[in-house]
């Protein structure tokens, strides 16, 4: 289960699952922000995304997810962080 991260200042003691799976270089990016979802927020995202994938339908799910990724990337406004997330998401497929 994912553990939500807290602030950058507390990062050394906060070796969460998210940072472990992206390898040696990526944690830099993950500690650059102190924003994180609460457990409740994550659960909302989880349900909303699952529902939306079903709503898009099997033949449009991929397209929907790529659109969503581009919108997220633009909101993130950080191509390096996005690259780190690509690396993380490509793990353990």
């Amino acid at each position: 289960m994912l553990t939500p991260r807290r602030s950058a200042a507390s990062a050394p003691t906060n070796t969460c699952a998210t940072t472990n799976i992206v390898g040696a270089e990526a944690p830099t990016y993950f500690t650059m922000t102190d924003k994180a979802l609460s457990i409740g927020g994550l659960e909302s995202v989880y349900d909303a995304l699952a529902t939306a994938i079903d709503q898009a339908g099997a033949d449009k799910a991929q397209l929907f997810l790529v659109k969503l990724a581009l919108l997220n990337a633009n909101a993130l406004a950080d191509e390096h962080l996005f690259q780190a997330q690509i690396t993380a998401a490509l793990q353990d497929l």
Binding site: Q62, L63, V66, K67, A69, L70, L71, N74
Partner: protein, 568 residues
């Protein structure tokens, strides 16, 4: 025996003249030539015209007896027009052309992007002008014909090139059989399917993309302005892209991508062309419009270049040197830049004013340009014709998002051909003030045109050699500068001096531009009298000074024209 067709090519709007072949039997015995240009397309003819401008004679060989079939290249950029102005055909291009600066991209019936190319009051030429290639070839050919230094030979096909020590022997086939032609230099301007490149077994680097596109020219009356139209993923051609351009003489170019697996032969069947063009016209609201086919062809996108354009006595230029995607109008427009560059580099070597190092510079600069274009055009091609499922998915996601999300719309703007900046050229001066300027064109940049008055622009005054722009309001150039200029001219270096900023003619300058309102000075970022720019014979900047002195002028001229070694 080479027998090119003597039947005029068919065309709705262009009357082909069939020229008489050049026959060796009708001419006296030939000496070894300085330069033979193989190919009479835009690259070949501009090379010959630039060579002639520097006093170097050439022979131009065309395998055919007439200009090329179909409109082919139709969009010419501002920089191309500036180059064509240098060889004397820009006025004719302007007279017959359709200038434009807006492009529109459509998806699901909505205009999702509008490209607006800037048009500065200081520019003589529009960002792009549409002219069919036959007309452009005719204008260039007329200029070649009028030039006593150019020996133009129709119906002469090169069948073999033998490289010797410092020259080459060509076997040239004609309607009366072959003859041998010796030349110090051979310019291979024989196009994308270059027979010389193939015979020399030269490998190109880069990528070829799958997928074919049809180009069809139709005569049709459409009440639409001269703007580029691009349609993505339309219902009649799902997943693919259609482009439309207005051409002169009531012709429209329709350019569409084929579904995977369809062969060029299938695509060019009349019924296939008709169904698709009818569907396209219907989609843009002109169902049933009467049209007539003029010409059609098929192409695929490739991003390939030779890693070196100079091979012994043979120099490749234009499409023979590289194959570039059509997106961004990069074929002929790149060829003009190649040819303009080659013309002066080669001329100064032929005249013994520079060594092979100068040709190595030409190759390095133009290979650099080709690689830059490949990098940029690759991005456009991956959007226009996605090469894999991943790229297709991203493209489709962008199309879908573009209906509501502005941030993705700039991805519709495939970069248009622009002149390469020779920022790190070996010809740039090391000891000038380039880095101290706050504005104006920097090292290697193409020139900034400046409007001087009614129908009078800076570029009208440049070319044919190096140009020194010296900013002054004094009655004469300083003696020490005049001395340096006289010395290099005495050695044969073509150098024109233009004084900028004086009301009266300036002694020591070939021309004086008053620049009464200081606008030229401002565009070139020159803060005070005594500043200067040195432009190469292709008008790219190779040195600039806030305050020019004789020592640094001499240094810049020496760098810009490396002295000859031993090569005859």
């Amino acid at each position: 025996m080479h027998n090119p067709t003597t039947e005029a090519r068919p065309s709705i709007y262009y009357r082909y003249e069939v020229f008489k072949p050049w026959l060796a039997s009708a001419h006296p015995q030939q000496d070894r030539k300085k330069v033979v240009v193989v190919g009479s397309g835009p690259a070949g003819m501009v090379t010959a015209l630039e060579l002639a401008r520097h006093g170097v004679p050439s022979v131009v060989l065309s395998a055919e007896l007439q200009f090329s079939q179909g409109s082919r290249a139709i969009c010419f950029t501002r920089r191309s027009m500036e180059i064509l102005q240098q060889v004397g055909v820009a006025d004719r291009m302007t007279a017959g052309g359709l200038p434009w600066r807006f492009g529109n991209s459509f998806y699901r019936g909505q205009r999702v992007f509008r490209m607006e190319a800037p048009h500065d009051a200081d520019d003589r030429f529009f960002p792009i002008i549409n002219v069919q290639q036959q007309f452009m070839e005719e204008y260039l050919h007329d200029a070649c014909k009028a030039n006593p230094l150019i020996d133009f030979r129709w119906g002469n096909k090169v069948t073999q090139v033998d490289q010797k020590d410092g020259y080459a022997v060509l076997e040239v086939d004609t309607p009366e059989g072959p003859y041998a032609l010796e030349s110090d230099w051979v310019v291979a301007a024989d196009g994308g399917r270059s027979g010389i490149r193939t015979a020399m077994n030269l490998q190109m680097e880069g990528a070829s993309y799958e997928g074919f596109f049809v180009i069809a020219d139709i005569q049709v009356d459409l009440p639409l302005p001269t703007e580029r139209l691009a349609y993505f993923d339309p219902e009649w051609n799902p997943g693919n892209t259609i482009l439309m351009h207005r051409e002169p003489n009531g012709i429209w170019r329709v350019d569409y991508q084929l579904p995977p697996g369809e062969t060029p032969e299938e695509a060019l069947r009349p019924e296939s062309l008709k169904a698709r063009i009818d569907a396209q016209l219907a989609m843009i609201g002109h169902a049933g419009a009467k049209w007539t086919m003029d010409w059609s062809s098929v192409y695929s996108a490739r991003t390939l270049t030779l890693p070196d354009f100079v091979h012994g006595s043979v120099i490749f230029t234009g499409d023979a040197a590289h194959l570039l995607p059509i997106f961004g109008v990069r074929g002929a427009n790149t060829a003009f830049q190649d040819a303009q560059s080659l013309g002066w580099h080669l001329a100064l070597v032929v005249k013994g004013l520079a060594g092979p190092k100068l040709l190595a510079n030409h190759s390095a600069e133009r290979v650099g340009a080709a690689r830059e274009i490949i990098e940029e055009a690759g991005k456009s091609t991956r959007f226009m014709a996605p090469p894999s499922p991943g790229f297709r998915l991203l493209r489709d996601a962008v199309l879908s998002l573009s209906l509501t999300q502005a941030f993705v719309r700039p991805l519709y703007h495939w970069r248009t051909s622009r002149p390469h900046e020779y920022t790190h050229s070996a010809l740039n001066s090391a000891g000038d003030d380039n880095g101290l300027f706050k504005s104006g064109p920097a090292h290697g940049a193409p020139p900034q045109n400046v409007r001087l008055g009614a129908n009078d622009f800076l570029l009208d005054h440049l070319g044919g050699g190096f140009d020194l722009l010296y900013f002054t309001d004094a009655p004469a150039l300083p003696d020490a500068l005049q001395q340096v200029i006289q010395n290099v001219r005495a050695k044969g270096m073509p150098l024109n001096v233009i004084a900028v900023g004086a009301a009266q003619a300036v002694t020591g300058a070939d021309q004086t531009l008053p620049d009464a309102d200081g606008h030229l000075r401002q565009r070139y970022g020159v803060p005070a009298n005594g500043g200067a720019y040195l432009l190469r014979p292709d008008q790219h900047i190779c040195a600039r000074w806030l305050t020019l002195d004789a020592t640094r002028l001499q240094a810049a001229l020496t760098t810009a024209l490396p002295t000859p070694n031993h090569r005859t």
